[in-house]
């Protein structure tokens, strides 16, 4: 299992992400944004969290023009698996690899804490190790996680089982966290090979860190 973890100016979760995948037995390599090719033999591209280009203009808006993103788009078009976490999710939205857009959290606050997430669909590579309705405890840390998609787009997400995760209370009932449409925390594309979520599974790999629920999420990519 070879994982390519992208690094832009302002990315800050690349080494946590590399470490998380290495804990699960993968060979993970950090790839600089000026590189033009995803390494041959890559099984998964991860766009990690951070504040690429200072979140200038809009979160993820500048990073999508980095050299490496052309190769990511080609890789995804051929069915290659791509995971965007937090800023990585924002970049995938800006790049048009996932539908919708991010707005500022409705509270206007930066939110940084553990939050419970309900698994909505597991009919995909990413969440195949989780059960539908299962409640996961995963940290969130973002300012622009207020996911928006219009009503037609939302209906399409549901129809194709593209809604992956929702913010919920400890019993699994969806609740508002940042104003996101239908409390959505993570989605995938129609082909189910590009995944994006605001919470950070790579920060929930050991009980010592408050939760190990991230293990089951990332393990899906190893099956």
């Amino acid at each position: 299992m070879n994982v390519a973890v992208l690094q832009f100016l302002g990315t800050n979760c690349e080494y946590d992400t590399k470490w998380a995948f290495e804990q699960l037995g993968a060979k993970a390599t950090v790839i600089w944004h000026q590189d033009t090719q995803i390494p041959v033999g890559t099984d998964l591209v991860v766009i990690p969290g951070g504040f690429s280009y200072g979140d200038y203009l809009r979160s993820g808006a500048i990073a999508r023009f980095a050299n490496i993103m052309k190769s990511v788009s080609e890789y995804a078009a051929k069915g290659g698996k791509v995971l965007g976490i937090c800023n990585g999710f924002q970049i995938l939205l800006e790049a048009g690899l996932l539908p919708g857009a991010m707005k500022r959290n409705d509270t206007l606050h930066f939110i940084s804490r553990h939050h419970t997430l309900a698994v909505v669909n597991n009919n995909n590579t990413f969440l195949q190790e989780c059960k539908v309705g299962e409640v996961l405890n995963i940290p969130v840390a973002h300012h622009d996680g207020n996911y928006y998609i219009d009503s037609d787009g939302l209906a399409e997400l549901y129809a194709n089982e593209q809604v992956l995760l929702k913010y919920c209370d400890k019993d699994g009932n969806p609740i508002s966290m940042n104003g996101a449409v239908d409390h959505i925390a993570g989605i995938c594309n129609k082909q189910k090979n590009v995944f994006g979520l605001m919470p950070h599974p790579e920060r929930a790999m050991q009980e010592l860190l408050g939760s190990s629920d991230g293990v089951r999420m990332l393990q899906g990519f190893f099956k």
């Binding site: 809009r58 800006e94 919708g100 409705d106 509270t107 207020n146």
Partner: protein, 81 residues
């Protein structure tokens, strides 16, 4: 010549910053006269020599490709000078 680009959330997309400012203006005593507040951003681009029409066309491309996220935002371009 310069282009003044105003970008804001589309009508129908909830503007949480505008809502917060509206609320703050209300508490300052402007409640009676303030009906709604929308927040946007302005980008001013200095341009070289080109016709008004060409400038508008080029800046429209810039908006579509980078300056605005047309999933949630509208933009308006004014060419001056």
């Amino acid at each position: 010549m310069k282009a003044i680009v105003n970008i804001g959330l589309k009508q129908g997309v909830l503007d949480d910053q505008g809502k917060a400012i509206n609320h703050a203006l209300g508490t300052l005593g402007f409640k009676e006269i303030v009906k709604d507040v929308r927040v946007g951003k302005q980008i001013i681009i200095e341009l070289g020599d080109l016709s008004q029409d060409a400038a508008k066309a080029e800046v429209t491309k810039m908006c579509e490709e980078l300056l605005a996220n047309t999933v949630i935002e509208d933009y308006n371009i004014e060419i001056v000078g």
